[in-house]
């Protein structure tokens, strides 16, 4: 088992990626930011069922979807929040938040998404 863990670490190092587990407790600041800016589309349960989703042509991302969120690296999440859905070849209905949120706040949200989706943080290096 120990050998397997060592192998995995070496493998990820070779791939130029670092992995860390989601935090046990979310940052209160991240929750506040999510509740302010994201819940309107992504929903109080973080599952893509925000109040605005009823009339949206493209359903907002379900942030509790471990598979889809696990497949999305941190830098892509950061870019989607900062520069909008189009910047990552997704829906225009995901707006650009870079004019409202600081980079640090967006990083905090990316960490929070890892908590919500119960996925690991993966950063391409």
């Amino acid at each position: 088992m120990k050998t397997l863990a060592c192998s995995l670490t070496v493998l990820l190092g070779a791939l130029g990626a670092s992995v860390s587990m989601a935090a046990d407790e979310p940052s209160p600041q991240a929750v506040k930011l999510y509740d302010t800016y994201c819940v309107q589309c992504h929903g109080v349960n973080r599952d893509g069922n925000g109040i605005n989703s009823a009339t949206m042509a493209v359903k907002p991302r379900d942030h509790t979807d471990s598979k889809a969120m696990g497949d999305t690296p941190d830098d892509l999440l950061f870019k989607a929040i900062k520069s909008g859905g189009l910047s990552v070849s997704k829906s225009v209905l995901m707006p650009t938040w870079g004019g409202v949120l600081t980079d640090d706040e967006i990083r905090l949200l990316v960490q929070y998404l890892r908590f919500v989706s119960k996925t690991q943080s993966t950063t391409n290096q």
Binding site: Q40, I51, S53, V92, L93, T96
Partner: protein, 233 residues
Amino acid sequence: MKRTRAQFVTILAAVLVPALTHAGKGEEILQSQCSSCHALSKPEDTSLDRLLNRKGPDLYYAGVKFNKEWLVRWLQAPTRIRPAGVMYRKVVKAGPAGSADVVDESLLPSHMKLSAEDAAAAAEALAALGADSPLVTKGAFKGGAPNVMMASLLFNKLRGCSSCHAAKPGEPPHSGPELYTAGDRLKPDFVAEYIRDPQKFDPHIWMPKLELNDGDIQKLTGYLMTLKQEGGK
């Protein structure tokens, strides 16, 4: 000559005193009935917490935002402009499984109504609030009739405005204010400036600052000015 001057003063007083009293009454109404929920002067606190906890939209720039005629009508018979309240997160709750969140209507306060006389006085006072505000540049909206079909496409599809704002009555509640009365309610220069930079008016507001070019802003503003429910449609 003396008699003529006295007559002039009398006439002047007859004109000015009611006008001043009217203005004074409007200001008194704003202070006594509006100020507990609305900022009538620019708040020093520009934090997110302040925005999250305010009870009503700021009115310190009402003079450059609202059409006075609409204010007079609305203050007598207020309708709900924000279907999910001033801060949507405080009133939305999860809907049935797999469905969109819903508004808890019991958490939405009703706006007070004013008499016709008080509404006129309050609207007069509101029209004077921030009337010279640098927040709005006169001529920000360059005018001109929009291509409604193209502008509607921008609003509904290409720029995603309809995700948060209803453009016609009867839509499910959205997080943002309805815009199907925008043409009655709002001044076009304000609309153009707000679309360009919402946070200039409401720091930290949950409306994204989109990277729109001036052409899009003009088209969207022109389109919104066509959205009217009262007269003129």
